[in-house]
Symmetry: D2
Subunit: 459 residues, 4 copies
């Protein structure tokens, strides 16, 4: 353990287990970042003359050895060490006793912040790319363009097109990418050097580590830096909540559209019932809904944790790691599944048309036509309402009603051609060629961070 | 898989993984219950003549074999099988092809409900006992009875005693046990026989399985039964949220009381800082606060999941299993740690007295005395306020103020004896002998359920 | 103001407004309880000789006058007084200067607890009765008994009956009433006498006020009592969350069932669109869903507030009043609307049958029949799956398929009669005569509490 | 009402009340925006020749009249009209029957989105300015610069300065402003023209209304636009949650720091107890904590509402208005109170020093010095730990310990001068001159939007 001089007894095992919680599992995601961060820290200590060159080089060599081990899956975290920081430092010290000095001018408080920031950077970039792949999937699906239903209040509203529908989610996801990039800005600040809570009296060079680690700038105030543990996590998980909320909406829609036969989900995405031979269930869509609730729970977990503590470091914040990783894993997987299935969906056009006809979806178009004929809008709205009442009483849809009947009921004079055109379900104006930005930002950052890593650890 | 006749393609692997989620881990907690439930189901099918005696006995034998295996840790769930139900049925069918019939008149929908109810019964009983052990710990601590501070608005209010403080949590936890027992009533209803959603046309005997499995009664309406998945889970996790909320409060209090030196937490429950040699932190208390937020997140997870679906079975509800198990594990561990540490706390009586003096904690007692002397309450309240202003201006506490001074400021005539008695910090009337019910209920239910298990599986 | 002796400056107006928040509105619900509670308190002070008989009687008279005023709507709360307690005490003091003594041996801390407990008792009773009225509404609806669809995974599962559907919610609501009654037990404890946090040195008689106010027992430990502010509120709002969750489910179902035309919602419960003449939306059902989210928010509000404070009184808890009242108002109104509309729903039986046929809802029944004919269950399950594949390829439902075809595909020998009986959609066994307990408990408690009120305030 | 042609019965009153909810109150905040939006819409209809010039001008005149009325407080919303849109249109139609046509090519769905976006723009700008004023308040407070304590784990960590503390919150709030500005980008998109869900067949000019209303760009896809109701609200309330979380932290800190006497809160921000004359409570700080929980509840309310619906318009989203307004009001008020009180706080420097000494806050500095003397970091950490054990056993702090003693215990050779310098509590390097950006952005946008309003409605 990295402390203990002041204590008369050692903490008990059960307690250590309670304290470390899921750290062994969670921290395995952080090993690489912890090593790279330590490399940058030690290089800076060397440059500043805080560590002697030889001393520093021995530590750096040890760190590189551990990095290789870790890459080969030979560096495992164990329960007896408190966390990833302790594990890495201990491993270094086994190789060279100079390891005892690598923690100069650093605390686990700024170290864990550093690890988390580096981890979040990578995951944001990854999510930006995965969201783009979902937008591509929507674009592919939109190529099967056809008439499609738009609902409001879960009732048929107006006819749209499949490409218009797909485009709506592409545009919506653009905002999600925007939120993730905004979050990235705030994540991409260097916390190293904040020490425990008040910086350090050592003459460190924070700009240098900022450069080495590829951060955009230094997060200046040390107390603010330490207190911000969890803040970026909250913003990140909020952004994921919004993505999942949209996946939940698509899922809800596909469940119902497929239940009605308007959309067909491929068999190999469905499961059956152990009792009822007639069932074909799209479990994954229901699970996406349920896991959206999980992400909301993760968000609350983080927010409530943050509310409950004063500023400075508090162990409560360890919990934000757990919630964040859960949210990232769940969301990533859900988007991937969705991106995979979307292009494979089939539309049953005739059923779509039936649905649209039965919902009198052309009503607004007819009312607009009446207005163009000089009838005030509120009055035409009423007249079409009356026409629908007539149709319903006769058990007909617009497509089965003649212009003569329509004219009589509404006391207007539409030509047969006008009537046909207006009651058609095709909406040329809504056919949409989808455009969206593939994430250049993500691509560039990714390449940049890869180089940063290579520079730190050597080719 | 237990279905597939209707399908043209098999679900893909990634999808199955997404669908099964953490089932492999979570369901390992359910194996025993799944087997016992199947034993009861098959016994009933035999009794009703739905299965022939020989056929049934072969299945029962197979189930007992698997039970033994499971007890020896030789029955492991794997990812390729969807869930515990599939795993158990497949294992039976490997032993006897009659296994193919054990699912007659049953669905996984009522089966998973059954497993969860049996699991929840055991966990509620366990928690009742653990809470009792925490009450015992508080009782032990109360034996070190001493003056203790009571705060309102985080400011010193009045002097109390340690035993009074301990008793307040014992009483509070009594209500939590009450909530868990109330929840138990609703959990302890037999769902088996509800089938997929509409019962079954087989001539089953639900009362018989109710008896075999030790339930209090049958949950009658099949649709209600299936729809109630998650409802008991929500109530259970709510009850745990309340317990954790209280643990969070104690933790908050101990953090502050120990920071001020009024209470001393044993060294072996504390951890240090990797950077600051002066730190002695009670991490576990902070983690309890943070994990309370986790439980709240679990509760939201379940509630939101339930809101998002129509009645009948929906896969979303699978998520409630995850949230429930997380909440149970976390809460159980937290109570145990707390029960362990409480009796080991030490009170620094002189510091407590200093704190109480500096907070003018005897003010109410003085005001009450003035009222007894004939001064209206609102006026005596004001007079004591003025006395405090005087003391503050002199930098004194009541204990350092003479009756003469007090009388002069308040324009009253208290005798020296009255003044001494009133400003003393001892509160004999608040010394409390703690009483609480050790959970006979839990003890009895536990024994009953153990017998039930033995009867089902054989000695 | 009821304090101020110790202070050099008065709090500023903006601050007082911030502090009192919505108190003026919220506390208007508490006036009656505050007065009744004060009557009981003063009667006790008189009986114990703490107040002289004459003095006490003058206060009691004043309280009765204010009570009358309040009943006539002539007692209004204003922003300049901090809260209901201050308003009532000031009003008494205006009538008789003895009012200055009515607060002896009491604090606003136990007083607000008392008001809230009395308020919650009344609201729980009210909600029990309103839930019963919804169960009656479901019973009425069930009289229109007909074939009805049961879904799992939002796909047709099996045919049920309307009465079976209605019964499922009646049974479900029984558990909600159970939860409310369990909550009532914990609410129905007398907090008066707990003082600020540590009781009082006055010789009060808590049993006597318990009797006068109709509580079941005394909540003994004063610190526990004060700390329990918000705990009962949380439990109450949790119980309401569960009710609303179920209303959200019914709403979701009715939205979809009416969208598909299986259920008809009366016109006068629907609203239209300002733009689209074809729309008929059941806004209230959507709002019930949205307000369920509100209640969940209220629950989180309370739980998070409770987590964030140490024990004893903290002003944070004032927020629980706001959240509770919001939850009660919203839930009460939602149940009433639902109870009103349910009996007016109409079922379109032919559409229901079409839905059930298209979902091959008879599949389980057919599989069960095959088992009875000696085919192992897992095999019959597969055979029926294959029959469905055949029907789908022919564009037929079971009702359009002959026994000959069925026998051929499944390689079995069902008689025409068996085939007809099994594929019929009628489920006699599921026709349900609904039973439920009208809340005698609520009725009795209500009468009891009315008497208590009359005894306190005079005829 | 704006619809009704299709209906046979009118909705009942109770139902309308349930449906409109708090609309009468909430929508009063939207009247101005609704009128301005209508002006822009009608101007566009005129420009496009959809309305004749004379017709349009009459409507515009009517709208201006209503605007004036509204400014003078003479335009009140009433319960019988569904919402603000209906109220304004009806008022116009009373003045000129051409009002019947002002809704051409528009739906209440895009109209309410427009109102909300305009409302949110103003509120974001307002909040940016209020947050700046809190940063100014922190700057003012920092001028009273003094030694100040930094805690981690609620234990003394290291000495800092007041200005460093203040700066940490200024920097933290900078990120909050960043989040609000990021949100503003997404809010500042023109939804008008999206119609009910699928745009309109009228030849409208969305760029023109975008310009008139000062939006940055058009939100293109109509379905996406309608579905995005609540999304910006969620992001806004999330940003507010983060602000409130920080206010909750400051509040928590001030409660404790003032309880210990390190910080003094002015009397006129405090309240007393009705029972205990010794109490001086900072209610507003506790209420800020409690209202943070309220905002979290609002956030959950919105997020859960959004999850529960498919895309397109659903009435559930009406609830997001309620939650948003609650969150904005609460947060605005809380920041204002905090900005008001901060500069008035006083620091008790001698008590701060005592706290820092008792927490051995100079330990890290001493350990660093030992390292500089050539002792490996892990070893010096241990030595200082042992020195603290020694001091504690002697009941001393560092300031009461001589260099000789220290040297002996740690077996080192520090000069008296080094010892004095290191154990001093002054941290010159942490004295901070606060810098932050006053929100030029807010200032500019505000001026721009005011001009937009004047242009639309006339001088």
């Amino acid at each position: 353990m990295l402390w203990g001089g002041r204590f008369s007894k050692k903490p008990k095992e059960a307690l250590l287990e309670f304290n470390s919680g899921e750290n062994v599992t969670l921290d395995s995601r952080l090993v690489t970042y912890d090593i790279l961060g330590s490399v940058a820290h030690v290089k800076m200590l060397k440059k500043q003359g805080i560590l002697q060159a030889k001393e520093a080089d021995e530590i750096l060599n040890a760190l590189k050895q551990i990095y290789k081990k870790s890459e080969n899956g030979e560096f495992e975290l164990t329960k007896d060490l408190e966390d990833v920081h302790t594990a890495v430092e201990n491993a270094v010290t086994k190789i060279t006793s100079n390891g005892k000095n690598m923690h100069i001018a650093r605390s686990r408080n700024d170290q864990v912040l550093l690890d988390m920031r580096m981890y979040m950077r990578d995951e944001i970039i990854n999510l930006l790319e995965i969201i783009s792949s979902m937008q591509e999937a929507l674009t592919k699906l939109s190529k099967k363009d056809s008439v499609f239903p738009a609902y409001t209040h879960t009732r048929i509203a107006q006819p749209i097109t499949l490409s218009f529908y797909c485009d709506s989610y592409v545009k919506s996801l653009d905002r999600d990418k925007g939120r993730l990039m905004d979050c990235y800005k705030r994540v991409n600040q260097n916390p190293l050097g904040a020490g425990a809570v008040a910086g350090t009296s050592w003459n460190i060079d924070r700009k240098y580590t900022t450069e080495l680690l590829g951060f955009e700038s230094v997060q200046e105030n040390a107390l603010d830096t330490i207190s911000s543990r969890g803040e970026m996590e909250a913003e990140f998980v909020f952004a994921l909540s919004m993505v999942m909320m949209k996946l939940s909406k698509i899922s809800e829609e596909l469940i119902w559209l497929s239940q009605k036969g308007l959309v067909i989900i491929p068999d190999d995405y469905c499961t059956g019932s152990s009792m009822m031979p007639n069932k074909k269930n799209a479990d994954f869509l229901e699970l996406i809904r349920g896991r959206t609730a999980r992400i909301y729970g993760n968000l609350m977990h983080i927010l409530i944790t943050l509310k409950g503590t004063p500023s400075g470091y508090n162990s409560d914040s360890q919990e934000t790691k757990y919630a964040l990783l859960s949210a990232i894993n769940t969301t990533t997987l859900a988007i991937q599944i969705m991106a995979d299935v979307l292009p494979k969906l089939e539309i049953n056009e005739s059923k779509v048309k039936e649905e649209l006809e039965q919902g009198f979806s052309q009503a607004t178009e007819i009312a607009d036509l009446l207005v163009k004929k000089g009838i005030p809008f509120r009055d035409s709205h009423k007249l079409v309402g009356e026409l629908i009442q007539y149709c319903e009483s006769k058990g007909k849809v617009f497509g089965q009603t003649s212009s003569t009947e329509a004219n009589k009921i509404m006391n207007v004079k539409l030509s047969e051609k006008e009537w046909i055109a207006t009651t058609s379900l095709l909406r040329e104006r809504l056919k949409t060629k989808i455009t969206f930005q593939k994430s250049d930002f993500a691509e560039n950052e990714k390449r940049k961070l890869e180089k940063i890593g290579q520079n730190l650890i050597g080719a």
